[in-house]
Symmetry: C2
Subunit: 168 residues, 2 copies
């Protein structure tokens, strides 16, 4: 028994239930904790969160934010999704740690308009600032994931385990 | 305007309102996102959270967890506290990023029993595992903090700004 995730002691074999749970944590998330490197140190902050049409995690970030500048100089990062409800023990609530590499899609990228329109269907309030010059999309390429489905239910997932069904 | 914290573009002068908000985010938190370094990469996971009698952030972690072993080899870390409610835009909800150094208090430490009893008043469900041999307390020494009180309300705080009033 442990309060913590990801586990290393008792990893279960990945099964379809774990894959589906992990994918649902990604698909439902509207914000995430993002860990980046700042001067060689880890730093965690909150970012908006959604998925691209192909299922990749994305965020919309401002160049004014420290984490944006951190990602531009060191794209390796980590995301935590899966928010506890208001009741019960938050550590029994499933959560997913993603190890990712971050790439940027700015206003000058031909893919920006389509991504913008898609994002606004999920995060409609971002319409207020998505067109500001300092905002860009970050697309996170998942390299590995750690799923904690609650006490004693830890899994290590590969990128292929998290592929969105029916993704374009 | 920005979706992100911490900001670097428009930092406000720290005032008592910012100090009180930051302190309340620490005092109310019962879990946190913890960012550590694993093989030189940032990794974020969820941990239990409380404060010691002197106001220092603490957690109870298992040696089986990857983040525990990471902290033992690289104590510099970061915590995010301040959970959005179920309604409204999560990025308008105040949150606090802490830059910390982690120290351990294990069962063999003379301060363990007092810390244990205090912790269980805040996290009573931890009684199930606090006495397991693989569990230790982590005490986080705050070095710096980034407060995002909502759009356009960003502050950089020093450790002295977060001292608990009336702490022993």
């Amino acid at each position: 028994m442990s309060t913590s995730a990801p586990q290393s002691g008792t990893i279960r074999p990945t099964d379809d239930e774990a894959r589906a749970l992990a994918r649902s944590l990604i698909d439902r998330a509207r914000f995430a904790a993002l860990a980046v490197l700042v001067e060689g140190r880890p730093m965690v902050s909150r970012v908006a969160f959604a998925t691209a049409p192909d299922g990749a995690p994305i965020s919309l970030v401002s160049d004014l934010a420290l984490h944006t500048r951190a990602l531009r100089s060191a794209p390796q990062c980590s995301l935590l999704v899966g928010e506890p409800g208001v009741r019960g023990d938050p550590l029994t609530h499933p959560r997913l740690t993603l190890q990712c590499s971050a790439g940027f899609t700015g206003h000058d990228n031909p893919q920006f308009p389509a991504l913008r329109d898609h994002y606004l269907t999920v995060q409609p309030k971002a319409k207020l600032y998505v067109d500001f010059a300092d905002f860009s999309f970050v697309i996170f390429t998942i390299e590995k994931a750690f799923l904690n489905g609650g006490f004693g239910r830890a899994f290590i997932l590969e990128a292929g385990d998290l592929t969105k069904k029916g993704a374009p």
